[in-house]
Every structure is written in C-alpha cells, then in structure tokens.
C-alpha cells in the first residue's frame, strides 16, 4: 500500500539500494528545484546533515556541495538552517505541459501509481484550493451607538467551560443548589487537537502537554495511548478511545480530564488509521500496548458501534469506568449528514461533540480521501449548531470545531457560528516548525515532528517548542480579546452562536442560508 516515494539515488550508498530501485524507471519530473548560490555557499555541510532525504552531498572530486533535486520534498529545512542563506527551494521550473484538465499533479500521481500500483499516500491537511469560507465571512464592530471596549483597560473574559449544561439550575442562598454535569474550566476557547504519540515524536507531545498546562487548557493524546511520563499532565489531558483501542486501560481513562471517542477524522472520514511499523519504536509499543515494529492499524469503524444505541453503550461504559467524573466527547468528521449524526450523539449522552472539517491534518491518509471526502468545517458547524438549537438540545453539549483553524479571526468566526471552543493541530505543529511538506507518513520529518527516528526527533527542543506554543496561543488570545472588544462584547460566552456579528461576502444565497448569516451590506 505504501509508496516508496524517495528512491535512493545516492551512488555513495549502494548497499541501501534495492533491486526494484534499478528496475523501476520513473517518468516523473522533480517537484522542486534546489538552487544553490555558489558565491554564498561556504561548504559547511549543514545542509547535508540536516536533510533526511539525501538531497545534498559533497562532490569530493569537484570539492563542491551538490544536490539531487529529485529527492527534495520542499520542507525548507536546509534553506532555513543554511548560515549564509545560499539555498532556495522553488517549484521546479521544468513542469509538465500546461493543461486545463490534466494538471501536473494528476500526471505525477498517475505516474507514481503506474510505477507502484499502490495508493498515493500523503500527510498533513487538504491542500486543494477549495474555498475557505472563513475568508468569506467578515466580523462586525461597534461604532457610536454601542461603545467598543479596550481589552487593555477593561476586563475581558475568554474562560470557557467544557461539558453539558443543564436546561435549568436551582440557586439557593446565592449558591448553586442543583447538581451540575462534569465541567472543565479552560482559560481560552482553544484546545490542542488529537495528535498521537507515534504520529509525532515524544518531544513534540511533551511540548504540547506542557504548553496546555501553562496556558490552562487541554491537549489530546490522540489514539496512541498515554506515555508513562505524561501522566503528570493529567489535569490537562484528553484521552482518546479510537477504533484500534491502543493503550486504553483503566489508568489511562482515569488519568484524563475528558475522554474522547474518536469516530472519524476530518482528513480521512470513513477510514481508519495506519501507523507504519517503522514508527513503532520500543517506547511507542509500550504506550500503544502492541508489539514493537508491528503496524498499528485502526479499523475504519469502531467494531462495537453500528448505531447510536451502540454509541450510547460505549459512552456510558466510559462514564462508568471514570465514575461520571469527566465529560465524554465524541469526535466525528464533518460529513454530509453531520447535523443528524450530531443530534444522535447528543441523545446518546455525549457531553461534547467535536467536529473535524475536511482541512484537518493527518499523519497519513490516502490522498484521494484527504482531498475529496468530507465537508468544510464552516458548513458542518453551522448546520450542527442550528440543528441542535432547533431540537432544543444545544445546551446539552459543548461543540468543539476543528480542522483548518489558521488564526484568531477563524476562532472568532467559529464561535460566532456556534462553536464553544476550537481544536488546533496543524497550527500548533507549524508553531513547532512544520512547513507542511506533507511527508509525515514517511517518518523522515526533517523538522523532528512526525518521526520516531532519534536523530531527527532531537531537532525539537521541547522547551523551545513549548514556549512557541504558549506564545502562539497567548497571541491569539490577545487578538480574540481585541476583536471582542471591537464588537463591544466583554466575554467570549456572549459571542457564542451570535451569527449577527458575521456577514458574508461573495457567497450564494444557499451558502448564506446554511451558514445562517446575512450578506455584507444588509
């Protein structure tokens, strides 16, 4: 199934070449061109050491550093690390003949599959130019008739409570008298989304956990289990129960502030996961409770869930296992009937519904699925929120949206559309160093993120990474406060579902109807 994308053309390492490398003749053009300014190159060999794809090499005969552009994945590690900025990585100027229907990407993928007969794998999120509806929504601001608020001078509330809210509460002597379902207080409506240890390195998960602890929010273990070292971050941990049930045991469930049942993932709705055996190191195998070096395969469905009734059984099994102490979340991919499914999930007893849009990231997915299956999160979120309101059950659940949240404005728009909080995953990895080269599945991540190779994983210093994550989320929090203040709102709770604060530009009337917003100018 997996395509060996990077043939080892390094003549200095003949032992690593397989017979198939000699036999398969590639018709593919290099995707990237490596340009080296020889006036600037000081031959320090930093690029050679930093590239796990064997692009750069020293030509002893000519005493020059040279390159093999056919191996380049465009991660820009060499260009960033070069002390003299001598390297630039650009799209290969030699492109396939321009064609309105058969793009270079189609030609390249056909060639890859003609060579190997496999599924084209990819990583990261959907990179196609489908419209991003966040960019077609504009936020309101106050002028004259309602004063705006300066968040630097006046209190501004981003605190968010995750968990089901009762339809009514009793207050006695100024105190809450009715029993509340479990709630989690987080300091801003931003959570780190599910990224498993195995897909990412130990250092990156550690950095994310520490950042969540410092920020007062939550991170999600993904389906990879919880490493023994990370139990100390239990007050900030969401543990996931996915179809593979990797690493699920009573201590795991009880170490968490929230348990999440993963039904689907935005990047690959309807299919399971596959962590290649090469990434199952000793530490990953202990955490996942599987033998070392074996492929970790998550089935497409959860084999004990074929109906909402089955889902209800698992939700309550997990609630029993955790003594009704923590909220239980159900994460689904944004698909066509997400609204009806979400309604069923709420009725099944979930405290949280997480919806993952089709721009969400992944460590590995078939490209055909990543780029073609699912829905933009904007529509799914608006449809789910509206459906739950219409049925009078919106209060019973916290709605978390994820999959393509790129900036603070996206978060404000998501909350105005009806989300309670958002999950960020790709944005967090970009903060750590990811350059979206989409080779996560190869295990050769030059930035030390999506790899278990100890030589590469060291490239993330968890202390630096944690600080960068904290800075990012704090920066976004400041921006959210500024935008709230501009609208004259002093609490994120007041923005929730307030679609009147949004206007659409360049949207059809059907799109405006689904989003529940009015066109700009009205």
């Amino acid at each position: 199934m997996k395509i060996e994308e990077h043939q080892n053309n390094n003549p200095s390492k003949p032992a690593q070449r397989k017979a198939s490398d000699f036999k398969i003749r590639s018709n593919r053009l290099s995707e990237f061109a490596v340009q080296r300014d020889y006036d600037r190159c000081i031959k320090c060999e930093v690029c050679i050491k930093q590239c796990s794809f064997d692009v750069h090499y020293r030509d002893e005969e000519d005493d020059l550093i040279k390159h093999r552009p056919e191996n380049c994945v465009g991660c820009h590690r060499c260009a960033v690390m070069c002390p003299t900025a001598a390297i630039s990585i650009t799209p290969n100027p030699a492109q396939y003949r321009a064609h309105g229907s058969w793009s270079g990407e189609h030609v390249k993928d056909i060639n890859r599959q003609a060579e190997t007969g496999g599924v084209v794998l990819t990583g990261s999120g959907n990179d196609k130019a489908a419209p991003v509806y966040w960019d077609r929504m504009l936020i309101n601001a106050s002028q004259v008739t309602n004063p705006s608020i300066d968040p630097l001078r006046e209190p501004m509330e981003l605190r968010t409570y995750i968990g089901a809210k009762p339809a009514s509460v009793k207050v006695k002597d100024g105190k809450l008298a009715s029993e509340m379902p479990p709630q989690i207080k987080i300091q801003m409506p931003i959570l780190f989304s599910a990224i498993s240890y195995g897909a990412i390195s130990y250092n990156v998960q550690k950095a994310i956990a520490e950042a969540a602890e410092e920020l007062g929010t939550l991170y999600n273990t993904g389906e990879g289990g919880l490493h023994p070292d990370f139990y100390k971050y239990k007050d900030n941990t969401i543990v996931q129960v996915a179809s593979g049930r990797f690493g699920v045991h009573p201590d795991y469930l009880n170490a968490a502030r929230m348990v999440e049942i993963k039904i689907g993932q935005g990047a690959k709705p309807g299919i399971g996961g596959h962590l290649a055996g090469e990434k199952v190191s000793e530490s990953v195998s202990i955490t996942r409770m599987i033998p070392m070096g074996t492929d970790a395969i998550s089935p497409a469905p959860q084999h004990d869930i074929y109906s909402i009734e089955d889902l209800r059984m698992l939700i309550f099994a997990l609630k029993e296992a955790t003594n009704y102490r923590v909220p239980v979340s159900v994460k689904i991919a944004a698909v066509h009937n997400a609204a009806a499914i979400a309604s069923g999930i709420v009725r099944a007893g979930a405290d949280v519904v997480a919806i993952d849009g089709f721009r969400g990231g992944t460590g590995a997915a078939p490209k055909a699925i990543r780029d073609n299956v699912g829905l933009p999160i904007e529509f799914a979120l608006a449809a789910v929120d509206q459906r739950l309101r219409d049925e009078g059950i919106r209060n019973q659940v916290t709605l978390i949206s994820g999959g393509g949240i790129r900036c603070a404005a996206d978060i404000v728009k998501a909350i105005a559309l009806g989300a309670d909080a958002v999950y960020i995953g790709t944005a967090a990895l970009i903060a750590v160093g990811c350059t979206l080269c989409q080779k996560c599945y190869s295990g050769k991540c030059n930035w030390g993120i999506a790899t278990q190779n100890p030589y590469l994983a060291k490239r993330v210093n968890s202390e630096i990474a944690k600080n960068r994550l904290v800075n990012l989320v704090q920066g976004w929090s400041h921006e959210i406060k500024e935008m709230l203040g501009g609208m004259g709102i002093n609490s994120i709770e007041s923005l929730k579902g307030s679609r009147s604060q949004l206007r659409g530009v360049g949207l059809t009337s059907e799109e405006l109807d689904i989003l529940g917003i009015r066109p700009a100018g009205m």
Partner: protein
C-alpha cells in the same frame, strides 16, 4: 565564572557552532570572507563530537583546575582569578604543545598560521557573548555562571534566555594581545 555547557539531549549535530566559531576567529569576522577559498585559514575552537544519534559540541570548559595552565612551561596559559577565563598569551607561547597533552578534553589546538602558538576557546571575549552559544539553533549550548568550585561546576543554569543579547559577559573592552 562563566562556562559553556553542552546539552547532548538536544544537540542536533548540525555543526553551526563550528562554522560561527571560525567566523569569530577570522580576521574579517564576516562569514562570506572567512570561508572564501583564498581567505587566510581560520581555526574553530569548538569541535562536534558525534557517535550515532548522540552529539555535542566540545570547547574549553574553563576548568577549575586548569591542567593546561599548570603544564605551561612559559606562563603563556593562565587562568584569570577574577573571571575564571583560561587564556593563552600568544607572545609568550613557544608552541611546545604541553597544554595539548595536558588537556583532558582535547580542546586546545595548534595555531601555526603566524608562528607557533596554542589556540583555544576564549568565550568570544572580543564579542561579548560566545558566538557558538548564540547561533545554536536548538539551545544545545548554554553559558552559565558557576562558582569556581569543582563540586558546584554544574549548578543552576543562567536565568532567562541563554541566547539573548542582554547577557554580555565582558562589558569592558578587553585589550587584544596582538
């Protein structure tokens, strides 16, 4: 006293410490000129030690018991009692290489570019802050202040950023021996 400490757990073996050490110890202090094919040879006072996935930068640790200075036959190698910095006076050094034999870390090198003299890490005293520490992309080199006591040699790290410009070790201009 100030000394550089290497952290192997986060050293990525890129070798930028070596590059920037050479630049700092070149005549021009310019990376392009220092590495020109016909530029005068420059010597890096830091070496990258590597074995498999493990690596760390090795430069003078400014020992509390400076064996190099004890062994020096001319008094060229001295440890400043105030700053703790071990330096070589090129005017006095005769190039007998006793210091190289004495150094337990193997961080003193021969400088035969202009006569014979030993050369070693001087914590970039002309620059104010060690160039290797500043340019380390993963904070695998830190400079820390520790008292001159072998038992406390690896005490608390320097507070705040170890890479910031605010940590100027040598605020006064130090007269160059040349």
């Amino acid at each position: 006293m100030w000394r550089i400490r290497a952290i192997p757990e986060v050293c990525i073996g890129c070798g930028l410490c070596r590059v920037w050490c050479k630049v700092e110890h070149s005549d021009s202090k310019n990376i392009h000129k220092a590495f020109k094919p016909n530029a005068p040879e420059t010597i890096s006072c830091v070496e990258l030690e590597e074995s498999g996935c493990e690596s760390f930068a090795m430069q003078c640790r400014q020992c509390d018991e400076p064996l190099c200075a004890y062994g020096c036959i001319t008094g060229a190698m001295t440890k400043d009692p105030d700053t703790g910095l071990v330096t070589v006076d090129k005017k006095k050094c005769v190039g007998c290489w006793t210091c190289i034999l004495m150094c337990p870390n193997g961080v003193i090198k021969r400088d035969e570019r202009n006569g014979r003299s030993a050369i070693k890490c001087d914590l970039c005293k002309d620059r104010g802050f060690p160039s290797c520490v500043e340019h380390c992309p993963n904070d695998a080199l830190v400079i820390e202040e520790s008292p001159m006591n072998p038992l406390a040699a690896h005490s608390a790290p320097l507070s705040g950023s170890s890479r910031g410009d605010e940590n100027i070790l040598f605020s006064e201009e130090v007269d160059d021996d040349e």
